[in-house]
């Protein structure tokens, strides 16, 4: 995955290290994009977490053109404020065939972010997990505040 390009806005640089050992330089502006009212953000990945399909809301909120998203690892949206343990829990849960829910702060291409309440389910076909579907919806601000506090402690 390519490093991010710093936007014109004031931003801070962070080096993310992913579970597979790969690294990515990201830039964070601290600007939050409000969740689009009434929408669901939907995406699918293969079993390795590579994005195979996404809906227009996913594209709009990410700030990337669709062509830049398909084929990329889902962690292209990883925000440095998210604790690695949250994603470990996500992967452990869905790889064991169960559904995962949680509040997630996602990173946009422009360095901004947006909060979601995410649910991830394994796609089981003929008894085999062939990928994962993630559906995000608008979280309440109370729940976001609680998640922010929790993740600060976990980091």
């Amino acid at each position: 995955m390519d490093d991010m390009v710093a936007s014109n806005e004031a931003c801070s640089a962070h080096l993310l290290t992913f579970a597979d050992g790969s690294r990515r330089q990201v830039y964070v502006t601290g600007v939050e994009t409000p969740y689009p009212r009434g929408k669901l953000i939907v995406s699918r990945t293969d079993t390795r977490g590579i994005i195979t399909q996404c809906n227009p809301s996913f594209v709009d909120m990410s700030g990337y053109p669709a062509a830049e998203l398909i084929g990329q690892p889902h962690c292209i949206l990883r925000h440095p404020d998210m604790p690695a343990a949250a994603f470990r829990d996500l992967w452990d849960t869905v790889q064991s065939g169960r559904q995962w829910n949680g509040y997630v702060k996602n990173l946009r291409k422009d360095g901004g972010h947006y909060w979601v309440y995410a649910t991830v389910v394994p796609n089981v076909r003929d008894g085999m997990i062939v990928g994962y579907t993630s559906v995000r919806r608008e979280p309440s601000r109370d729940k976001v505040a609680a998640a922010e506090a929790l993740y600060r402690e976990m980091r």
Binding site: Y35, P36, R37, G38, K39, L40, V42, R44, N55, P56, S57, Q99, Y117, T119, V120, V121, N123, R125, T133, S134, V135, R137, E138, P139, S140, R141, D142, K143
Partner: protein
């Protein structure tokens, strides 16, 4: 013995005769005995499904999921065009401007469509509202949902977009859409049960070519659709995966 066909009871009452016309046309075209049974509510429909009295159904996305996963039904077509969406409405003079303004204790007018109500509940999550801190006022029809809002009996109402658009302009003028769902990926589907699998090719072919005749096109228009679109098993599986994230 006739095969049993039903339609999710979320369509407007004025379309009842159109579904009977559709059924008569389908029977003649397929040369199969098909009995159309329209249920008054979703509870009655689910009882019929559980009793094995449904062989063919035009179902909302939630029932379609249930039928495919738990009853072995096969989805063969969907109406082309807009996916299923709903709106949360308030009285035009309501002080509520956005969902987060809604307070605990809010009274929700709704009908018994589990699909609409589930999505409505999801759209209330930003206000921390759920079944524990709201009151649900069940109404028989969406006109009655609108009346509950206009009389001040309810603070907000759930209805399908189509039902809202079918309200008279006078009623709509006194209502305001607080939020409209834009889920984009779930839709009604036409399903057949295992007993009809041997006729799947004929039924699918009939539906997919329906728009090609003037009579077929007229029936589709009366039912609020333009044409049927083929559904692949993976399309349905994807929709089911999405619905499973909304219902558990």
């Amino acid at each position: 013995m006739a095969f049993n066909f039903t339609v999710s009871p979320s369509f407007p009452n004025e379309r009842i005769s159109d579904w009977y016309i559709f059924n008569t046309w389908m029977q003649r075209s397929l040369d199969l005995p098909i009995h159309l049974e329209l249920h008054n509510d979703f509870g009655a429909q689910r009882q019929a499904i559980a009793a094995g009295k449904v062989d063919m159904i035009y179902a909302n996305p939630f029932d379609a999921s249930l039928l495919v996963r738990e009853q072995g039904f096969r989805a063969i077509a969907r109406p082309e065009g807009k996916p299923d969406e709903m709106v949360i409405v308030v009285a035009a003079d309501s002080p509520t401007q956005a969902v987060p303004d809604l307070l605990a204790g809010s009274r929700i007018a709704c009908a018994d469509d589990p699909c609409v109500n589930t999505i409505g509940r999801i759209l209330l999550e930003p206000a921390n509202l759920d079944g524990n801190n709201t009151t649900e006022l069940r109404r028989e029809t969406y006109i009655q949902v609108a009346k509950a809002l206009l009389r001040g009996d309810a603070d907000l109402g759930f209805m399908p977009v189509e039902a809202f658009e079918n309200l008279s302009s006078l009623v709509r003028r006194d209502l305001r859409v607080l939020v409209a769902s834009q889920i984009q990926v779930i839709h009604h589907a036409f399903l057949i049960g295992p007993i009809l699998f041997e006729h799947a090719t004929a039924i699918t072919g009939l539906l997919l070519s329906m728009h090609q005749s003037d009579k077929g096109q007229a029936m589709l228009t009366a039912l609020g659709a333009q044409r049927w679109q083929a559904l692949e098993q993976e399309d349905v599986e994807f929709m089911i995966d999405i619905i499973s994230t909304l219902t558990t």
